[in-house]
């Protein structure tokens, strides 16, 4: 069915042009007013990315995220494009009361948009599973063990040796003299225990969190990248745990291996360890918590 020749642009096209002009005008005004439009544009795109990863596992997640993100953007543009195209192109001309072709469906089309998404999600599932195996991998011999104890509303970090004996307990969850100190380049195992309700150990720059469930000890491992020595990362409880949930933050301080060993040895010398609940009650023999890399 041929459509009658257009004598003037439709209202939809006019509206689209008007909106485009407005947006363009706003951008021009912003540039003239001194707003750094390019920086905002860049920030917008990077804002749709998680922070740069500081652990090996986090880097694997970020690489996975890139693939998921690109597929998401592609799907969005294709489907949204179809929507916008339909809305603009198939707008009814005023005065046209005839019926369009009454297409009921098309089995081939149904097959295509069933099979293609199936392939896409199968691909996403497989690469996610592969990355999960990296993130959740547990090596038989971690080099540093820490028990992160969560309670309403504070974190306590208990450094253990490989037998589970307590070496040193850090009661201050953040600050220069507090927080979780970790050596770079080594495999660190965190054990999570809760005194009361469910909390969650979350460090955005690890691209990782794990729940802390009372009655259960979750464990996970990570390796901080060598180049991160000397940096501090924010951590925060990520499971609603009561009225000061918003304030249950902690710091993670990355140190070189040598600095970490020295620090731990000094703390153990200054504070002979007392057994804390959940640890074995045998007194710690020697402060040989970590083997040097």
């Amino acid at each position: 069915m041929s459509s009658p020749p257009r004598t003037r642009p439709s209202t939809v096209a006019l509206t689209a042009i008007a909106i485009g002009a407005l947006v363009l005008g706003a951008v021009v005004v912003a540039i003239v007013a001194g707003v750094n439009v390019i920086k905002y544009g860049e920030n917008f795109v990077t804002g749709l990315y998680p922070p740069a990863a500081v652990t090996e596992q986090g880097q694997a997640v970020r690489d996975l995220y890139t693939i998921v993100f690109l597929i998401a953007v592609a799907v969005f543009f294709v489907v949204e494009g179809l929507i916008l195209w339909s809305v603009i192109r198939y707008h009814r001309k005023p005065g046209d009361d005839s019926l369009p072709p009454q297409t009921h469906g098309n089995n081939i089309a149904e097959a295509v948009w069933t099979i293609v998404p199936t392939i896409i999600v199968a691909f996403l599932f497989i690469i996610s599973w592969q990355t999960l195996n990296v993130v959740d991998a547990t090596s038989a011999q971690p080099q540093t063990y820490v028990r992160a104890e969560a309670g309403q509303f504070q974190w306590t970090f208990v450094y253990l040796n490989d037998h589970g004996d307590v070496l040193y307990t850090q009661y201050a969850p953040s600050g220069k003299d507090g927080g979780l100190n970790v050596p770079v380049g080594r495999t660190i195992q965190i054990q999570l225990t809760s005194h009361d309700v469910i909390h969650a150990f979350y460090v955005p720059q690890f691209l990782f969190k794990r729940d802390v469930v009372p009655g259960r000890t979750n464990k996970f491992q990570f390796n901080v990248e060598q180049a991160m020595a000397g940096q501090t990362f924010r951590g925060q409880c990520a499971e609603l745990c009561g009225i000061k949930h918003y304030d249950m933050t902690f710091d993670v301080h990355a140190m070189s291996g040598a600095d970490f060993d020295a620090w731990l040895a000094a703390e153990i010398a200054a504070n002979p360890p007392a057994p804390s609940p959940g640890a074995s009650s045998s007194p710690a023999a020697s402060p040989s918590a970590s083997t040097a890399p």
């Binding site: 198939y90 469910i198 955005p204 794990r210 009225i243 918003y246």
Partner: protein
Amino acid sequence: MATTTLHPVATAYKRSTLYDWVTTTDHKKIGIMYVINSFVFFFIGGILALVVRSELAMPGLQFLTSATYNEFFTMHATFMIFLFVIPMLAGFGNYVVPLQIGAPDMAFPRINALSLWMLPLAGILLLSGFVTGGTAAAGWTSYAPLSEDYPLSSPGAGQDLWIVALILIGTSSILGAINFIVTIFKMRAPGMTLFRMPIMVWTVLTTSVLVLMATPVITSALIMLFIDRNYGGSFFDPRNGGDPILYQNIFWFYSHPAVYVMILPAMGMISEILPVFSRKPLFGYKAFVFATAAIGALGFSVWAHHMFTTGAVYLPFFSLMTFLIAIPTGVKMFNWIFTMWRGKLTFSTPMIFAVGFLSMFLLGGINGAFSASVPVDFALHDTYFVVAHIHYVLFGGSVFGIMAGFYYWFPKMTGRMLNETLGKVQFVLMFIGFNMTFFPMHELGLAGMPRRIADYAATAGWNDLNLIATVGGFLIAASMLPLLWNIFVSLRSGKPAGDDPWEANTLEWATSSPPPPYNFDHLPEIRSERPLFDLRHGPASDH
């Protein structure tokens, strides 16, 4: 004013007294009261959200204590889910389904009335917490042990009131589901086979099956929590050998299908509106039905994707099933788009909201795929990214769908047309406000802002986006003003609608607006899913 040869002999008789409305068993009046009740709680939930957003606009606790803040976001979600979206869709179903299948009422009209009146009662129970020492404050998910008895939770009966209210609402839903299933299976007009039912009826049927099977499970979880809190029980209390993860499993076994309860009828409404305003049939009707059934079935197999970070879940299975659900959802999206394709589209307000639905729900589906990938979910779970996802599907999806359905069926319910200009103003304000509020939340979550926090550090870098989100929230609130004004003005002096103002396809348009109490005097031949279209154009035209 246009009438048809199907216009009934006797239209609604004038007996609309308060007593009539309170005691009615007429599905149309009950449906309207469901809608009104749901709007009231939409506004209450919305005000709670505005308060939450106002507190979060800038770092620092400005005017709420964190205890009150926790109550407010808990009740915001509770009202929105259980007293707005779910009953609003049930209300539209109540009004529309018997009309669309050519039935005079629902199968059990008195139980229908009972289902309705349980809702304001539950709402009052929930609200009473605000004036009796505090409402529930453990999130709408109320995870144990935080929701267990004091001192793990706050003192006071707020959580108990919440449990009782939800059990009431669940019972109302289950009774409604029984009503819908029996009505749809047993009371269709002659000629209306299952595959000639409107898609709206199919989605309500599927939703009802989900409600029937899933809601009792959360009832059991709520009862167990109540026993833990009040009778020294130990279901979920780790101090006595109980298991908090058990609560999560039972809770999500319902609450995941619940999200399909919250979206499927809205999808049904969109599936009615797009064909009418494209002047072509729905593309791929049968594929639609199968996709709806697939979503319903698959919806029972994904619940633990809410629990990926607990360390207590078999991750690959739930991740796979979650990815799979994207497929029937995508089928629907394409079928909707190709309904419009090569059609002749008119953009009355229902159609504008329907197209808005398509775009916004698309984003909600896409950002859901991020969470389906387990390692990505480890980064994004319990952050504002999830808040963005939730609201893109529930607001961008369900609310836009509800608005489309409201503008579409308001003429049938009241006999008056809503004003188109005010409708478009509402859409523009709501669309801009909605995206302004929730798009930044993707970035906030990716940057590391957790959910359910009353305050955040000024140095975290989250200030600007939170402020933008709050401004957007107030824009959404502003968009309610043209809606309310539109309703007020149109009820009094809106253009008379006539039987079939939209030139639509389904049976509800084959009677007066509003319909007489018994719905129909005559029914047309039913030989396809568009009986009115067939009547208008004759069965031989091009299908």
